[in-house]
């Protein structure tokens, strides 16, 4: 692919409202050229609206959208030069696969000989070369999604928008396509990708950075590692990977949960304040150790490689994922849990909005 001016997406205070109902509230976000940014959030969080604002299907009530250094806020979709793949594929049913992929090139009046080579190239890249003569209805869901990706890539966009592209696929196909998307991005490192998803695994796997959204607002933005290891708030912690969120009171050099004293880094937290302690379930161990918590088993689930224990500790439910146990504790049995001080993060007090 020929070198081109840098792409990238910038939201500058973008607000979108439908009939006075704000669905995207003053979003400020920059996606660097060549970066994969995942917009992660539950349904109704505004993530799809943000993507549609980039595509040009919704008009912001205020704020500006930039592609590279072009202000595209007022441009119609067909003049934005983007590629887009949606959840339901939206392949044109009356055209063969090759014509679907050629559509954007024909619309842009690319020379016929070049259309042929670029269609072949895009189909090859997505592994659909053998299906050029088929109609979309003759393809499986995964194949249709590959064609949709080929169609978007054939126009060689600077920016690729993916709107829940894997949601309609079953779990096994999804992980295959995830690897495929990662490979495509390695082959096309200049393409900026905005990836909307509600699936944290997709976001963690694929994204260079994740923007977590909730209730029309951006809650956090950072690399998957940052968000996972040191989430900024309870919502992010629970949405990016499961988390135990325990209401604690800050003491000196630690916190207290009920009568249990827990050693944790309390930098930045005032003594006596209430806070939320975040510990990932897989970092909680069974048995004695530092930061021990005692409780009774409320529920136990066998998940093949692991056991998940739900332990009631001082009125709070603590999740622990431990390696498969030979003799798992039974319901109601008292157990001791522990975790390393460096595996816990102290968050400002907040209501936990979800478990898992």
């Amino acid at each position: 692919m020929a070198p081109r001016p840098a792409g990238g997406i910038r939201f500058d205070h973008v607000t979108v409202a439908y009939d006075g109902n704000v669905v995207l509230d003053a979003l400020d976000l920059t996606v660097e050229p060549g970066e994969v940014m995942a917009l992660l959030g539950p349904s109704g969080s505004g993530k799809t609206t943000a993507l549609r604002a980039v595509a040009g299907f919704v008009r912001p009530a205020s704020g500006r959208v930039f592609l590279g250094d072009r202000d595209v806020t007022a441009l119609p979709p067909h003049r934005r030069g983007i590629g887009m793949v949606v959840q339901q594929y939206a392949l044109f049913p009356h055209m063969r696969v090759a014509d679907n992929v050629a559509f954007g090139l024909k619309a842009r009046k690319v020379a016929r000989a070049e259309i042929r080579t670029r269609v072949a190239e895009a189909l090859e890249m997505t592994g659909m070369g053998a299906y050029a003569r088929r109609h979309p209805r003759e393809l499986s869901g995964g194949q249709q999604q590959r064609v949709a990706i080929a169609r978007a890539l054939a126009v060689r966009p600077d920016v690729l928008l993916l709107d829940e592209p894997l949601s309609a696929l079953d779990a096994q196909l999804r992980s295959g396509m995830l690897a495929e998307l990662a490979r495509l991005h390695r082959e096309l490192p200049d393409v900026t990708i905005l990836y909307v998803t509600h699936d944290q695994v997709e976001a963690l796997t694929l994204a260079d950075r994740i923007a977590v959204m909730d209730q029309a607002r951006l809650r956090a933005c950072g690399t998957p590692r940052e968000l996972y290891r040191a989430p900024a708030d309870a919502f992010t912690a629970s949405f990016v990977g499961g988390a135990n969120l325990l209401p604690v009171t800050v003491g000196s050099g630690g916190v207290s949960l009920g009568d249990a004293e827990i050693e944790v880094d309390t930098t930045g937290a005032a003594r006596g304040a209430s806070a939320t302690l975040c510990v990932r379930p897989h970092l909680v161990g069974l048995g004695d150790g530092p930061n021990r918590l005692t409780g009774t088993v409320g529920e136990i689930q066998w998940r093949g490689a692991t056991h998940r224990l739900y332990v009631d500790v001082a009125g709070h439910r603590v999740m622990a994922d431990v390696r498969e146990l030979k003799a798992p504790p039974v319901h109601g049995e008292p157990v001791t849990l522990h975790f390393a001080p460096e595996d816990a993060v102290l968050l400002p007090a907040g209501v936990s909005t979800g478990e898992e």
């Binding site: 595509a55 067909h78 983007i82 887009m84 939206a90 049913p93 954007g104 842009r108 949709a148 169609r151």
Partner: protein, 265 residues
């Protein structure tokens, strides 16, 4: 399947035949029988002949058939074009305005067609819009009468069309006109052809508005049938009616063939 037991299925078929035969099929069979008869005084027609058909496929009748075909084709195409255009335009309007436009297009259906004929006659009898006495006044009246069907069927199909197609096309760089021509209209083709067939059939059989408007050199077939039966030539009228039926059915069949090829899903 709605009815499972074998006995019940037979019963449903029996009820269907009892209702269908006398109501739908028998009258048409009677016309078909009469078209070959010279007398019909007992149960079955007698004095079989094809003379009526010789009369019904030449001269005045042939002229009328051509008139009907040209009128129906032109009126359907006009109706299809305006109806589709209006439906596409209405889709972009606010809900309230869309309702108003829809109501406007249904108006010719709500008014008796005689009234539409009269209105057309009055409206186009004065200069500068002097069309009275020309074939165009018949064609315009037919278009007005059938546009409602074209508009309704296209706007219903448009409402079902997934906006994702249009958006995918636009994101790939296609201008709205290109999207309309290469994506929307092809996807609407099944409903467009259905609407065309309906408009054509309705126009072929239109009598009441036509009666008020037709000039002597533009006599559609239904007028001829009416005139023949009015002067008591029942058997000749029947033959002309069969010709009208056959011509309409043939065109509908051709249109439905296009439709089968156009439905991909």
């Amino acid at each position: 399947m709605l009815v499972h037991s074998r006995g019940a299925r037979w019963a449903v078929w029996a009820v269907f035949l009892v209702l269908f035969l006398p109501l739908f099929a028998l009258p048409l069979l009677v016309v078909l029988g009469a078209s070959f008869a010279t007398h019909w005084s007992s149960v079955l027609p007698s004095g079989l002949t094809t003379a009526h058909y010789e009369a019904a496929t030449r001269g005045e009748a042939l002229q009328a058939l051509t008139t009907s075909l040209v009128t129906a084709t032109t009126a359907s195409l006009l109706a299809l074009a305006t109806g589709t255009w209006a439906a596409l335009a209405a889709a972009a309007l606010k809900r309230r305005h869309r309702k108003a436009l829809d109501a406007l297009f249904v108006l010719p259906l709500a008014v008796p067609s005689v009234v539409v004929g009269l209105a057309t006659l009055v409206a186009f009898s004065q200069p500068p819009m002097l069309l009275n006495g020309t074939r165009w006044i018949v064609i315009i009246a037919h278009s007005v009468l059938v546009t409602a069907f074209a508009h309704q069927s296209v706007s219903a199909a448009l409402a079902r069309l997934d906006p994702a197609y249009e958006q995918a096309a636009a994101s790939l760089g296609a201008t709205p006109a290109y999207v309309l021509w290469r994506v929307k209209l092809p996807l609407l083709l099944p409903s467009l052809t259905a609407a065309a067939g309906l408009c054509f059939a309705l126009s072929m059989g239109e009598l009441s508005a036509t009666m008020m408007l037709y000039p002597p050199d533009w006599t559609p077939l239904p007028v001829l049938i009416y005139a023949a039966t009015d002067r008591g030539a029942l058997f000749t009228g029947s033959a002309v009616a069969v010709v009208l039926m056959t011509a309409t059915l043939l065109v509908l069949l051709a249109v439905s063939r296009i439709r089968t090829r156009a439905s991909y899903r």
